[in-house]
Symmetry: D2
Subunit: 372 residues, 4 copies
């Protein structure tokens, strides 16, 4: 028994040379029906480790029978991947207008409320699911045809969302600047957090802030909440979506990619996507916090900084996070300054450059964290 | 009788050399009390004509007695002004993270609703105004002291908002890419549109979208709407705020700056800020549209483009706006393509480069426009 | 009688998505033998008018019989064309390392001297020409195969030079920042300057400074000088190469492109490339200067600038070129400063942004100019 | 006995806000006369470790008596330090025109030859040294006064060169992209290579290629060679200049900075600048190669790359340096490709991003290296 395999290209933009820019799409179709999985990587151009993860997933899925379908879209932003500014990749936003490449997905809460009202009492969960999915996909198709056109990032995002909204399990592979591995998990899917081999978990509420994971799970979570209320019993669609941060941007590691691929396969196995697989999540310490307790530490000063606290380390209140150098004060006691932890915390990522202006996101930290 | 004059500098950031970055503040104080005016320019670094306008305003206010106070802050973004990317100024957003320099102002609708409820029936309009102003300013001060810090653009914005929220009339001087002069006017202040010498007017609703004019007028408009409802009679605070687009970015003209300064003085005179001035708005054709009819035309294609329709021209449906060249098709009939107007419109601005990707904001256009 | 037409693509690079980047090549081959012509445009990505010129040339060459061959390579730098930094195109240099896209061509003077010594007394000019051409082309091919690899810009340049060095007449189409039309002409080919319809001519010496025109004519000029000395009579290869600056960067004009195409066809006709054509250069005023008198005016100050002198205007000593605004001095007599012409001059181009640091190339000017 | 200490600021540019940009200068003057030392850091804005080194040197020189004078200029490029392009610092070149910030120093070989001819037979070495120094400094001063102005990078460079050319020992502190510590040593000063604690040494010839070390030592080396010839005996000026590469750009480490400061103090002690110091170079393995054998490996392909060989490792011919991923081929045997060492080598630095275009400087490597 083996999977069917297809490879396609989707045109998502055209460059100034008048040439199409496309993204590769790798599709595995199992012999038996089952859930649909959608995995993309590198929507932010400098966040490239996910491409290695997808490479390993493809090698594995050539051997591993699945039920349902797995779609893999590596390097899903051909514009962002190819914008260099100096030696690094300026991949987080459109250099023309600053638009974050991960903020143009469609979401409209009022529309979900209307849809919830349209649901008949006797409509089954699969029927509702299929009808809702179709409605969103119709809107996406319509938006892509808008007669005045749409922006570059938005077109890219909607094209990808067309694929993602068709899926039951959506994984968006990212990287932090200098970062330990972490994952964004919707609060209602907290149980799935331990199906991955990822040590740091951010539990996020049902609030759309623009990213693909939210654009995917918020509609379903909102809808199931409304319908559960209406029907006075739990309605569940079983759709989940996550943003996985696979370490640091601007580097790839084939060895780490294999670990990451295993982590994802563990999740897919737990969700019934794999046939006769013995891949299970590792026993490991997993620490979580709620999004509101995932704090950004901004600098008050400009200068040059040594990052003393490493991503993933447990830091006690009062311990130093960073040491700042001020080149105008090298002969005075103000030459250096320690930046201390205001409370117990785990730095998850830090800024990737030693040179900072005031108001720089120095660290993002878990506070009030707990074990899962 | 003459005005008092003061010059100060406000620190808004610190750079990687550890040095303060500040903005100049020019303040004229009339002998008699009167309204407060706040005018800033170049929050977007490449939009520099406003600096020339403020130069002319300063020359005029040295001679022209005022009542109340006029604060002028040219070049209000010392970071954005000084970021070159190639020969041009990358001034619309923070190059680190893509944050638009004009989107970090504070606004919280729920807070206004709470405040409205706190208003006593016998509280006078000046009392309410003073108390509300103080409350917002307290919040701004508090946000600037946030123990985890705040972002660079947000700090800059809040520092400027501290000045702006103290004023009755706020003018934020911008430029479009390649652009004719136009102004954003809150719908409730439509009558003021004809007090400026600006031919194109966009009427905007009471909806905060991040800019300084909205951060200024939305709180007052919301509050006066709530209180008018409550008191069953019109409550008016007389606060107005506008974004003025003084032509194209990346160019300055001293002659045009004098015209623009006159336009602003006409408005200030109409609002009672000037003493014994005979500056009145010009008799001229002014065309307006509602924000929802101010349409962006995005390109479907990438290529090289000649902008045939000039900003300010009236274009009929079906007339050409632009002509596109595709370098891969120079020998075929697809070498060039005309982009036509979908309806009667006035292009207000267009993209400043001939080289475009698909999804570029080619033109912004007035549709369904009318004369004021 | 008509020309044969072919279209090809040449791979010049591969991007981070692992995809080939290629340039289109349009080739017209006449029924009769004759000189070879090579024309490229947009080696600097923001300099796009040449693409329109090539578009018009292609339309004309469909009708106009030629002898020999004309190769047209529009948009010859697919990397540079597609790098946006803000709304503009960062096309002059590789964003990774600052390498000018027009400085990687091959030139080696000692090699020409060696070749000159290898020439037999009885070797005919066509024989010498063919042998020298082959030798350079062999070196180019070898360099492209260098086992340690070569840089991105250099590979692009050598690939184009392979085409150019095969030609007798080479035209490299550029634009200035904000610029009037001008042309770089090797001193020995001064007679050809009046075959184009270009009002401003820079006469350049036999010194390689990195550009394609120099990489083309310097070897031939050097060789014919050496051989003329050796043989005690004029040896001429008839090879000419020019850089044509077709107005300002970042804009295209189809109307101007037709004028520019006519200008080039006049030259080609004068050189015997066209069959039975009646295209001749216009009678017009042409002003020239030597390269050493083509002066760059750098600013001593930073600030915002209005460009008072327009490209192409004749400016007398002491007349104002530009007016500078200093935002820190708006209340003092130092608010503005005039920058004056140090001698009689013609500004040919100026910087395209109003915001300048000290040390900016404000203007490039003809001094000690004369009529041709 | 203790040193005198002074702190100054030198204006090197003015920004678009019209404000001066300056560099700090820390000066220690010993009680006794002795050699002059000039140390600068961060001429390339992202190469910041040298600032930490200078911080440590200042702490040490507060205690350690010197003879002569030590001038320290950290963060010597206030423009380059403050240009962000994305999260990283675009510090190697002027973003306006691509000019490398370390290539605008003055050097003119013909002038040195003229000077050599002017030297009288009885002129003493100190006299020659003083007169030559003065002549170069006069030219630098003149160039800075050029009536048509000079470019931003050139002004910065000449201002720094005025300080450097006055010194006997010049150290220019840099960083590589991802790099091990290495040093550029002029061939004639090879003996000094072992006075530093730096494991990798590049021996460079007497050829000016634009950098500060060359601008400093080439004139003296050329002059002493000419005079030694003339006088038929060794003339030595004792001037040395080095570029020190203190590890990787975009990071600082206070601990490593202390090591680097020690390394520099060892050299200064060996050169007689320190009084009663017991700082001596470490016993360590030092490997050197000639500049011609310091090879750049360029990629032939674009894609994503894992850097397998670490800077400083000894790699044998045929061993893998890097592994490339091609996202369009993830299902085929072409998904990955190994890049192998063509000969025995030591990678000294590699490109800092995983995303590369073809023609990227992947590695710089020592070949044909030997122990010192």
């Amino acid at each position: 028994m083996s999977n069917q395999f297809k490879k396609e290209y989707i045109v998502v933009a055209q460059n100034a040379s008048g040439r199409n820019m496309n993204v590769p799409l790798y599709r595995f179709i199992g012999e038996k029906p089952g859930p649909k999985v959608y995995i993309q990587s590198s929507i932010h151009g400098a966040e490239v480790q996910g491409n290695v993860v997808i490479y390993h997933l493809i090698q594995r899925l050539k051997q591993q029978p699945i039920c349902g379908e797995v779609i893999l879209v590596p390097n899903c932003n051909p514009v962002g991947t190819n914008i260099k500014a100096g030696e690094y990749t300026l991949g987080r936003f459109d250099p023309v207008n600053g638009t974050n490449w991960n903020r143009g997905y469609f979401y409209d809460e009022s529309l979900i409320q209307e849809f919830a009202q349209s649901v008949q009492d006797d409509e089954s969960v699969p029927q509702i699911k299929q009808r809702f999915r179709q409605q969103i996909k119709d809107i996406l198709a319509e938006k892509l045809q808008e007669s005045w056109g749409i922006g570059l990032a938005q077109r890219l995002n909607l094209k990808l969302q067309q694929l993602a909204f068709d899926a039951d399990f959506v994984l968006d592979l990212h990287n932090g600047p200098v970062s330990t591995r972490h994952i964004y998990v919707p609060e209602y899917a907290q149980a799935s957090a331990t199906m991955f081999n990822i040590p740091h978990v951010i539990l996020i509420p049902n609030k759309f802030a623009g990213a693909l994971d939210e654009a995917t799970f918020c509609p379903w979570w909102t809808l199931q909440t409304l319908l559960s209320d209406k029907r006075q019993k739990a309605v569940e669609f079983g759709v989940e979506a996550f943003t996985l941060e696979m370490g640091s941007q601007e580097v790839i590691s084939f060895t780490d990619g294999e670990y990451d691929a295993n982590s994802i396969l563990s999740y897919l196995n737990a969700k019934g996507c794999l046939i006769e697989s013995d891949i299970y999540p590792q026993t490991m310490r997993r620490v979580a916090t709620y999004l509101k307790n995932y704090k950004v530490l901004y600098t008050q000063q400009g200068g040059m900084v040594e990052y003393l606290a490493k991503p993933g380390e447990m830091i006690k209140q009062g311990q130093p996070l960073a040491k700042l150098l001020n080149v105008d004060e090298l002969d005075t006691p103000n030459a250096t300054e320690l930046i201390l932890a205001q409370c117990d915390l785990i730095p998850i990522l830090h800024f990737p450059s030693a040179s900072i202006l005031s108001g720089t996101q120095l660290y993002k930290c878990f506070t009030h964290y707990f074990e899962l």
